[in-house]
């Protein structure tokens, strides 16, 4: 198995673990971490393909993803904090009454 296949396999595995975590875990913080895992899986695939094709576009895109992910966390963590403050729990099911 050569290196590229291995790296893509790792990327897919990271993405799949992240997605599974988002779907099955009930703790909001864990779900956020799982989302980061998914992003990192994508980042890994991006740099891998950038390396294979010899272009810089993929690598540049990774930085964009970093920035977006940082911004997302910067908003998501305060939201979670507020939720926890009002509901006194991290359990996602307790937030179901937020639907419109």
């Amino acid at each position: 198995m050569d290196k590229v296949q291995l790296l893509i396999g790792v990327a897919v595995a990271l993405f799949a673990i992240g997605l599974t975590g988002v779907v099955i875990r009930r703790n909001v913080l864990v779900m956020l971490m799982c989302m980061e895992l998914m992003l990192n899986g994508v980042n890994l695939s991006l740099v891998t393909f950038a390396h294979v094709t010899g272009t810089a576009v993929g690598a540049v895109l990774v930085f964009l993803v970093f920035v977006v992910a940082t911004a997302e966390i910067a908003i998501a963590i305060p939201i979670v904090l507020l939720l926890v403050r009002s509901k006194r729990t991290l359990d996602l099911d307790a937030y179901a009454d937020l639907k419109g």
């Binding site: 997605l19 988002v22 779907v23 099955i24 009930r26 779900m31 996602l92 099911d93 937030y95 179901a96 009454d97 937020l98 639907k99 419109g100």
Partner: protein
């Protein structure tokens, strides 16, 4: 090219702007000065322009600007001043100024004093545009503008729904006529490529043009019937009496309603080559004159009698225009402006004295109490009845003569109907005079106590107009207009009848006077007896031939039915509202079904995302 014409038009507009914008802040005295001063200034300009016209002989023109240019066909806002315009402008500014002065007395107590005068000045602006316009386009702007001013002034006391409705009726009835007018204009422009009236006349007089003169003539005449209240569009004018009385005098007697006559005289080139249209004009004219006069016989409201009399006199003017005697039509327009303005303003003075009462059955014996009003009213009555040597005699006699003898459609039956109408005119006018000023007073004590002569601003104007009604006929308008509006050929075999007809015409006026005196002398006992003999006829005439009810039944109701059933219930509610409501209901039902998916459970959403991803991946597996 002259620079005199634009100020004539613009001065009243300035008055409108001043009084309309700041009239409420500058005090009644200044409002009066502005409102009367500017029309008087316009009158002076008009006199100067007339002097220039007489000196050079050629029409004055002034191009203000080119409004639009299509290829080599410009639409110019241009003013044109020839002999016909001179007569019209002098009447409009002269009588208009007098009525402005009268209004300062009549409207003195009204709380909307400035608004009244701004409308009145606006009316003068549009009326001057109408008579000064060189192109039909400018004329049409003025034509619509006077309609607007008329609407505003009929509904001047708009708190009263009846008066507001009268304004609407006038406006809508005029729209019907305007449709014909517009079609006529389109046809002229398509054929001749110009709307300049001097060029249109020249084109028609020069030789055959590629459009039927009669068709154009009839279409334009439809417009004239609307503005000048001829059958079948006469219904608005009696209702228009809801406005203040000086407005009735200025707009609905002396100037605006004569615009139709002016239009026919101005475009005589078309009508000279349109025997069918001319015959229609004469027939409608004489029919309207007769029919309105019969209604006027039994009216009991002082202003309504004068309104029907106006319709009847306008019919006389159209009769003259229809038999080719355009100069005579304008002559009657001119004398009518004096005596009818005098009558209306006299009626206003009577109403003023009677504390607002308009019913002549509740008047009587006013001659001694308001002598100036009585004398001027009597002079104007004699003038309209056609007693020599007053103004109305000359113009009416010429109309009767040309209706009989004109080589351009004159006929004995036209003369007979017109003569019968003249007899009725004399009768109902003297009846009005008798019921108002003679006999025993029939008003209640309270009103009788308050009767007083009007202030000088009103009686002074009445005296001026009475003098003009007396001597106005000595200035022969047909002769003055002869260079541009030649009189029709008189059939030679009828020449010897001119003097007998003149005598007959005087006899008719005197007969009307005698009849009215006989019927109404003993406090109307004989008239009352006569009325019981012809009760059904009297009811028909009092009901104005039930024309309003007829229109209501055959036009108003069906339109309302169609509007309600077809347009409102079927079209608006069922089709349009139904479609939109149906779409909204569909969206709501679909959303109701789909909203069950929104549980609020984030895991469920994530699962759906996952399922979606899987489906997309599987699909792309099979298709890439």
């Amino acid at each position: 090219m002259t620079k005199l014409l634009l100020p004539i038009v613009l001065l009243p507009l300035i008055g409108f702007l001043i009084n309309g914008l700041v009239g409420n802040f500058i005090g009644k005295r200044l409002v009066s000065v502005v409102a009367c001063g500017l029309p008087i200034a316009a009158f002076l300009f008009a006199i100067k322009a007339t002097a220039d016209l007489m000196a050079t002989g050629a029409p004055l023109t002034q191009t203000v600007f080119t409004w639009a240019q299509f290829a080599d066909r410009p639409f110019e806002i241009a003013l044109y001043f020839d002999r016909l315009t001179a007569v019209m402008v002098l009447i409009v500014t002269g009588v208009g100024s007098l009525i402005h002065v009268y209004s300062t007395g009549y409207m003195h107590e009204d709380k909307s004093y400035a608004r009244y005068f701004s409308y009145l000045n606006l009316f003068l602006f549009f009326m001057l545009m109408l008579v000064l316009g060189r192109s039909l386009l400018v004329l049409f702007v003025g034509w619509e503008g006077v309609g607007l001013a008329s609407y505003l002034l009929i509904g001047f006391w708009f708190e009263d729904p009846v008066k507001a409705a009268a304004g609407k009726k006038a406006f809508i009835t005029n729209r019907v006529g305007d449709a014909g007018f517009l079609l006529g204009m389109f046809l002229l422009y398509r054929t001749l490529g110009t709307l300049q009236m001097d060029q249109i006349n020249a084109a028609f007089l020069a030789g055959p043009v590629a459009v039927s003169a009669s068709l154009v003539g009839v279409l334009l005449f439809i417009g004239a019937t609307g503005k000048s209240a001829q059958i079948p569009l006469h219904v608005w004018l009696p209702d228009a009496m809801a406005g203040p009385t000086p407005v009735s005098a200025l707009i609905h007697a002396a100037t605006m309603v004569t615009a139709g006559v002016y239009l026919v005289a101005r475009l005589h080139g078309i009508f000279l080559h349109a025997p069918e249209a001319s015959a229609l004009v004469a027939t409608i004219g004489v029919a309207t004159a007769f029919f309105a006069a019969t209604i006027a016989l039994v009216q009991t409201d002082i202003k309504k009698v004068l309104a029907y009399s106006t319709i009847s006199q306008l019919g006389f003017m159209f009769l003259a225009a229809g038999v080719g005697a355009y100069g005579v039509a304008v002559f009657h327009l001119y004398t009518h402006a004096f005596f009818k303005a005098c009558l209306f303003l006299g009626a206003g003075s009577v109403i003023h004295a009677m504390s607002g009462e308009q019913d002549i059955r509740k008047m009587g014996g006013l001659a001694k109490k308001i002598p100036i009003t009585f004398v001027t009213f009597a002079i104007a009555t004699a003038a309209i009845a056609g007693l020599p040597p007053l103004a109305g005699f000359f113009s009416k006699d010429e109309i009767l003569w040309f209706a009989f003898a004109s080589g351009h459609g004159g006929a004995p039956w036209l003369f007979a109907v017109a003569a019968a109408t003249a007899l009725m005119t004399a009768f109902y006018m003297f009846r009005l005079l008798w019921l108002t000023f003679f006999g025993t007073p029939r008003m209640d004590h309270e009103t009788a106590h308050h009767i007083h002569e009007s202030p000088w601003s009103m009686t002074g104007v009445l005296i001026v107009l009475a003098v003009l009604s007396t001597v106005g006929g000595l200035f022969s308008i047909p002769h003055f207009l002869e260079p541009m509006l030649p009189l029709p050929e008189v059939r030679p075999e009828l020449h010897h009848l001119e003097t007998p007809l003149l005598v007959l015409s005087v006899a008719i006026g005197l007969a009307g006077l005698a009849l009215a005196a006989w019927f109404y002398s003993r406090d109307g006992a004989r008239a009352e007896a006569a009325r019981t003999h012809v009760e059904p006829l009297h009811r028909l005439l009092s009901g104005k031939y039930y024309i309003d009810e007829l229109y209501e039944g055959f036009i108003g109701r069906p339109i309302q039915w169609v509007s309600d059933r077809v347009f409102l219930r079927l079209g608006d509610r069922l089709v349009i509202d139904g479609t939109l409501d149906g779409m909204a209901a569909f969206a709501r039902r679909t959303a109701g079904g789909l909203s069950r998916v929104q549980t609020g459970n984030l895991h469920f959403y994530a699962l759906l995302v996952l399922a979606g991803l899987v489906v997309v991946l599987l699909w792309s597996w099979g298709h890439v």
